[in-house]
Symmetry: C2
Amino acid sequence: MARYKLHCFAESGNAYKAALMLNLSSADWQPVWVDFFNQAHKSDEYLQLNSLGEVPVLETEDGNFSQSGVILDHLADRLDCFKGKNEVDKREVLRWLFFDNHKFTSYLATLRFMRHFGKTGETEVVKFLHGRVTGSFSTVENHLQERDFIVGSYPTIADISMCGYLFFLDEAQIDLASYPAIAAWLERIKTLPGWQHPYDLMPRSAVS
Amino acid sequence: MARYKLHCFAESGNAYKAALMLNLSSADWQPVWVDFFNQAHKSDEYLQLNSLGEVPVLETEDGNFSQSGVILDHLADRLDCFKGKNEVDKREVLRWLFFDNHKFTSYLATLRFMRHFGKTGETEVVKFLHGRVTGSFSTVENHLQERDFIVGSYPTIADISMCGYLFFLDEAQIDLASYPAIAAWLERIKTLPGWQHPYDLMPRSAVS
């Protein structure tokens, strides 16, 4: 049995953050498919794993972890990779993990869900989310003007977290033409040994 | 001069998280008012403090910190209070800090801003945000059924973060009648020595 079991599905960018971290770290892991679109994350069995019903959950020898930021923080520490090299960098990593959760993934994930899976059309809510997404993209574009990675010259879990939904941009209908620094940064991430697209790294659902 | 200078304004729940932590910890601190409604956070001077232009910023002997979650994490560590007492509790604290940023403060702060300051009326976007807020409130209500505080029997920075916007619920037009466990938890927070309402703890803007 693998050291790590990741409860996930390929359409989840939050699950991808954990899966990508495991793969980039050459960890011994296996995916366990969650049938999200048929509400498997609301089953009693799944709620035993995570009372909030969120995906992903990482099963480890140290117990079960949920919330992608917590999983990344734990794995960086345990596997001793992709973490900040000093106190200042560690603080920056944490800052961008919060930024991702607060202003980046939060809106982008919902926008992509509505446009791609919900097929809601361009409602007022979709337009609002699109505006929030482009605002946060401008922040990151500006930040990456002078940096190869989010905290500087080397990749950390901040990059792994923030790129979580960025390989679904076609589904979110966001064009990177206006964000060349983000596009270049994503290309750098794709060259890291072990990188794979979310749809190649985790089991897909029939719906997608 | 005070040991800590907090760049803040009383209408900001994110600034309140830091101000409340400082006050509950009996830290030597002073507020420095940011004229947010007149765009002071976009001035060159302010962007020197925080390139993202976000409020709050905490000036300390260890440098400047921004992002409320980072500030709370730093202060808990430095002042040795309101942190998790063991590894499991520390992980839970971090998990709820992320939850707050991802699903709780993010929507509530925007909803309150639109309803109270933007006076947008009940647009589709406001209705969407209201739905997200009540969804996350149900999650927290359920979580607090069997706990006095977010990670268990004692208050941590997870409580301090998550209550950040909850003393503005009248402005957000959210009624706690459906959330008795949240209401009781807020009353417990109000009994902590040093607790003050955000409007009494930081300088207010003329607009409010």
